[in-house]
């Protein structure tokens, strides 16, 4: 607690401290809590949609409400859950992993956090208006989002909220990037940064270029709803799509990179081996991948007939090599390792296998003749839920089970964690696996209703049951959170034997992060320490990481 707030009465001080603290750990905790609450909200919206789609006909909600639900489910999950979750991991861990006492630009980071919260609340405030929230899809597509077509004030709140929260996310990205570039401890060279920190460098490089585009686009849309004609004419709707996806595609990887980085750390810790092929992982993967991410946006527009199909098919297919190297390096980290099957590790393994389905179906939709069927159908819904839910969110849970002890000083329960994992694996693959089939059969996305004669009823019913199983998994997680925080099992500074610097300080770390830093000679400084101990005969080699 800072000196300024220590003089206030204890309870008021704690609250105020959480609101105005420029400590990166406090800001990250705020992001995590807001993202978790938003995740529960977005999840309820998803379950409402799934119950509507369980049978042909309209049973649960009206068409208008359904349109609001899918718009806000997508917007909530992307803008207010997965992006902030990705940034929260970076805000908490990058300063620790580079041995810094604080984040670069702590006040800017605090402003970024509050702009994000303000924007997210503004976006959700549409639920309180008479006309309901935004309902022009999560991409706010023009001309549907123009005033004549979607006149409700909830749409204005959506535009304002998305613009403001993206501005906040831009500021947070800058702070994380500059922490890695400018705040590293002495001897922490760029090529000694932890794999997760490198993944955040890739993430924030993309974010720094992408977020302003959405801020500007929302400004233009806001203006256009009151005036006219920015997105009219033969080129106008295409301009909107180009601008949105120039933001949107890098951001798809913003929602993926940090979780790959986290999974790499989890593999390293529980296989007791430093990451295999570090230079390839950093160079070929993070930097090439980030570079390519800026030149693939047109594959969202193959069906317009107005982009160069061949160029965007080529750049999109080139992602194969970058992503393939990640799989190789992470698999070979486990090779000849000494693997402990903790909940965090099992989530990480599941991330690798389930994300693979998302990645391979991503190659499928990168091919224009195949995308001419998949675009805007349930094939695409299946694809990106395999990347974002079956992938990124499983990676996020790996990160949560791995770093929760660092954040709180208490361990999460392993048994409940494994129960949650099993429920989520079953639910996820039923729900999203079957969407490939129903999409191939011709079910479009964003419909509240379909006909009995369409023959999609059975698959949809099973998907709805699957989504309920996912919901149970999340309930188990919430129980785990409550139990673990109520009846605390103390974690100590380094419960797992992790490779990087965050494990060299107390859990949770003091406000200045470190009392003393260990020597930094490689990208796994704590494994180096263990090696030294083995050499000095203080530790048996079979108990130490390599």
């Amino acid at each position: 607690m800072s000196a300024a707030t220590a003089t206030l009465p204890e309870r008021r001080g704690r609250l105020l401290g959480a609101v105005i603290s420029t400590d990166h750990k406090s800001i990250a905790r705020g992001l995590l809590v807001v993202a978790l609450l938003m995740f529960l909200g977005g999840g309820v919206m998803a379950l409402l949609m799934r119950s509507e789609l369980a049978q042909p006909g309209l049973q649960v909600v009206s068409t208008g409400t359904y349109n609001a639900l899918f718009t806000m489910h997508g917007s909530t999950m992307i803008y207010a859950v997965v992006i902030p979750l990705a940034l929260a991991l970076g805000v908490y861990l990058v300063p620790l992993q580079v041995g810094a006492a604080q984040i670069a630009g702590p006040r800017v980071a605090l402003i970024g956090f509050w702009l994000f919260v303000l924007g997210a609340l503004t976006m959700e405030a549409g639920w309180l208006t008479n006309g309901g929230p935004g309902r022009a899809t999560w991409i706010g597509v023009a001309p549907l989002s123009e005033f004549q077509r979607t006149p409700n004030s909830g749409q204005d709140l959506w535009i304002l909220g998305v613009g403001v929260l993206s501005l906040g996310q831009w500021l947070l990205s800058l702070c994380v990037l500059f922490t890695a570039l400018r705040k590293r401890a002495p001897r922490m060279t760029l090529l000694r940064m932890a794999p997760f920190t490198w993944s955040m460098v890739g993430t924030t490089l993309m974010g720094v270029f992408a977020f302003p585009v959405l801020v500007v686009l929302m400004g233009l849309l806001w203006y256009d709803r009151r005036n006219c004609c920015l997105f009219d004419g033969p080129q106008g709707p295409l301009n909107y799509q180009h601008l949105f996806w120039f933001y949107g595609h890098p951001v798809v990887y913003v929602m993926f990179f940090p979780f790959v980085g986290a999974v790499a750390e989890v593999f390293s810790a529980f296989c007791r081996r430093r990451l295999f092929g570090y230079e390839f992982f950093v160079g070929a993967t993070i930097l090439t991948f980030a570079g390519l991410s800026m030149s693939v946006w047109g594959h969202h527009m193959f069906t317009t007939g107005r982009v160069d199909d061949r160029y965007f098919a080529l750049t999109s297919h080139m992602i194969i090599a970058a992503a393939g190297v990640e799989y190789f390096d992470i698999a070979l980290t486990a090779w000849r390792g000494k693997i402990r099957f903790t909940t965090a590790f099992l989530f990480a393994v599941t991330f690798m296998l389930q994300f693979l389905v998302g990645g391979l179906s991503g190659v499928w939709v990168a091919s224009p003749p195949l995308d001419f069927q998949a675009h805007n159908s349930y094939i695409v819904i299946a694809h990106f839920h395999y990347t974002l839910f079956a992938g990124s969110l499983f990676g996020a849970f790996a990160a949560i089970y791995y770093w929760f002890p660092k954040w709180t000083g208490a361990m999460l329960r392993e048994g409940l964690g494994k129960l949650q994992l099993v429920l989520m694996i079953i639910g996820t693959n039923i729900t999203f696996g079957l969407m490939f089939a129903v999409g191939e059969e011709g079910m479009p996305r964003r419909i509240a209703n379909y006909l009995p004669s369409d023959g999609w009823g059975t698959l949809n019913l099973l998907e709805t049951i699957g989504s309920g199983v996912i919901g149970l998994g999340i309930v188990v997680f919430l129980i785990n959170l409550v139990v673990s925080l109520r009846r605390r099992v103390p974690a100590g500074p380094d419960p797992w034997g992790g490779p990087s610097l965050e494990w060299a300080t107390t859990s949770p770390p003091p406000e200045h992060n470190f009392d003393a830093l260990p020597p930094i000679r490689t990208y796994a400084p704590l494994f180096d320490l263990a090696r030294d101990e083995v050499k000095a005969g203080r530790r048996r080699p079979e108990e130490a990481p390599a």
């Binding site: 009219d232 092929g277 390096d329 486990a334 001419f372 159908s377």
Partner: protein
């Protein structure tokens, strides 16, 4: 004349096989490593120290690039054949020209050069779109309000339509029958009801239908 259905089927089969092989390799590799190197198997073992192998990694990247080049090549070839459909539809004197007019929340089809229009019957029934089998058709899509998308799942093809713009694409319907068509861009409240039925007739029957419609329109 080729069609998008057969192009999709052959390209998709290749992609599916490649994806299947990759999936199996990765699953087997992970299963092997996780079982072989689990800590409980031999508690006295010391974890391996080597953390890089540049040659193996470089060779692996070359393999990945090979796969990428293969997939991009077959995609480009398929695209060229599909472009051929549109070229044939635009240039052939035998091709049929149909104007597609999309508006919230209905479809209208105008047979160009002939005063024939099909519009949605009342009560949200799908608009009929009569087409000849096997003959290239040049569609010209126009929207009166927001984005729409013309999608016929059974022929594996769709194209976006937007206001103030005429978008052209060629299609060939491979077999006779009734195929469902849907709007595939969310276009507002009744988006889900915006459907059409493609009624593909053999050439002569289609011609008879068209001349009957023309006579009806002339009366």
């Amino acid at each position: 004349m080729t069609n998008t259905r057969s192009q999709y089927d052959s390209l998709g089969t290749t992609y599916l096989i490649v994806a299947g092989i990759v999936f199996v390799i990765v699953v087997v590799a992970f299963a092997f490593v996780l079982i072989r190197y689990r800590a409980g198997r031999d508690p006295t073992r010391v974890p391996g120290e080597n953390e890089k192998h540049t040659l193996a990694e470089a060779a692996y990247v070359v393999v990945l690039i090979g796969v990428t080049v293969f997939l991009v090549t077959i995609t480009f070839k398929t695209l060229s054949r599909e472009d051929g459909i549109t070229r044939a539809a635009a240039n052939s004197p035998h091709s049929l020209r149909v104007r597609v007019i999309a508006a919230q929340w209905t479809w209208r089809f105008e047979y160009e050069g002939r005063p024939v229009v099909t519009v949605a019957p009342p009560q949200d029934k799908p608009t009929p779109l009569y087409v000849p089998v096997g003959r290239p058709i040049l569609f010209t899509g126009h929207s009166q309000d927001v984005l729409h998308q013309f999608w016929v799942p059974d022929v594996r093809f769709k194209r976006q339509i937007w206001p103030d713009h005429d978008e052209q694409w060629g299609m060939v319907f491979p077999s006779a029958g009734v195929f469902e068509g849907v709007c595939n861009w969310f276009c507002g409240l009744w988006h889900q009801n915006m459907r059409f039925d493609v009624i593909a007739l053999p050439g002569q029957r289609f011609d008879r239908w068209l001349s009957a419609q023309r006579r009806k329109a002339a009366r």
